[in-house]
Symmetry: C2
Subunit: 248 residues, 2 copies
């Protein structure tokens, strides 16, 4: 089955590599507007101009959220068009055969992610397209899970909490270390243990710290130590949320 991959951002690049490494689907063209080559090292055609795209059975849109709808308008009406965004409705796609193929993972420049470590949330408008997307996930070496739109948007929100927000806390901690001439690496065993503990404890059961102990003395001391108004706000609302969670 022929596939066209549209997009060459962080996810697009990794999908490209994973698609060329499997044989169930044939990647025919790759839309990479920043690439001036005509062909990749693997012999896949690189296309800059959407109007000259060959017809394929499946189009994967690995593009920004806002680009999904307008791109789908220029693709063949009878193709299966799928996007990869956690937070965008399946109906942003105009084709009747449409789907979502959402990798529950964070992709970065210069980091290769094995798809065996990427659960993929799948949704299709037509039930008969579901096995196709399941096979696509499997071909990449990934596990798939069926997610309806509501589940997907909630999972996307949860992903923002555990990835983007957690990373912001790491950023603030790294700032505190830097300001006090301490290597951030000092915190790595603690960060790793925070995550490893999830294998044996639910996060709710694993909660520790001044907030859950209601240790007002430490909480006030920490608030005094914080210079940045935004970090002070975070400290206050997270502390209060932890206390609220364990009130009953």
């Amino acid at each position: 089955m022929d596939i066209t991959l549209i997009g060459a951002g962080k996810l697009g690049k990794q999908l490209f590599c994973a698609l060329t490494a499997q044989s169930h689907f044939k990647l025919v063209e790759w839309v990479d507007r920043s690439n001036k080559q005509h062909q990749t090292a693997e012999g896949i055609s690189i296309v800059n101009d959407l109007s000259s795209l060959k017809a394929t059975q499946i189009y994967i849109l690995a593009v920004s959220d806002q680009a999904i709808e307008s791109l789908s308008h220029v693709l063949p009406k009878d193709a299966l068009v799928i996007h990869t965004a956690g937070g965008v409705s399946i109906d942003a796609i105009q084709q009747e055969r449409k789907g979502v193929f959402y990798p529950i993972q964070s992709f970065s420049e210069n980091r290769v992610i094995e798809f065996s470590k990427v659960p993929i949330g799948i949704e299709t408008k037509k039930p008969e397209d579901q096995p196709l997307l399941q096979l696509l996930a499997e071909s990449l070496g990934a596990q798939s899970i069926l997610l309806d739109s509501k589940q997907r948007e909630q999972l996307h929100l949860a992903a923002v909490l555990v990835n983007n927000f957690t990373n912001h806390l790491f950023t603030e901690a790294a700032n505190l270390c830097e300001k006090n001439n301490l290597p951030f690496e000092l915190l790595m065993p603690l960060i790793q243990e925070t995550v490893q503990k999830l294998q044996t404890h639910s996060p709710k059961a694993a909660q520790t710290g001044p907030a859950i102990r209601n240790d007002i003395k430490t909480i006030n001391k920490h608030l005094q130590l914080i210079d940045k108004p935004h970090l002070k706000e975070i400290y206050k609302v997270v502390t209060s949320a932890i206390q609220k969670n364990y009130e009953q």
Copy 2:
């Protein structure tokens, strides 16, 4: 050199195990008020009553923050007394020879932590006691770092961010999963990648997500999806803090 260990909480228990497994220091007595035995399997005396403690050269207080000061009053005036708290001043101890031995790690019931994965922050009032605490850390298999009071309190604050606050975000994400009949395990590869990425990217460089993209549509959608007022507050202040951090 003789040691007395006071406290049998999460840290106390693990210090007990690590102290009995080394031979540079001799653990003489263990104060465990909840233990009715007279002796551990390793032959260490268990003491309930502080007034009957034998004199030793070092006393380790692995007790709650509030108990440190009052306990130090009942210990020999000429001993080296050390506490293990990240957020308590060295001067909570009354002895002239005093120190802090702060394991930068989170200890839980039913999880054995190898001390080789626990950096220990060391502070002493008398410079000549410093090598003693360094040797103590080394004997446990831990790396030590000298931290003055200011560095230690800032590091303790940073530890609250990366451990307690991060764990709270995991708790909220687990809640969202549960409410939507999704296994929390779906998020584990993403959580692991968030941490593993720190090996190659600073957290500031690794930041992604709707906040840093200034993706108002997704941010507003997420705010609508959140029922819990406390989580909504967290979403708002962390999003705003991320935006502030990358404004320049």
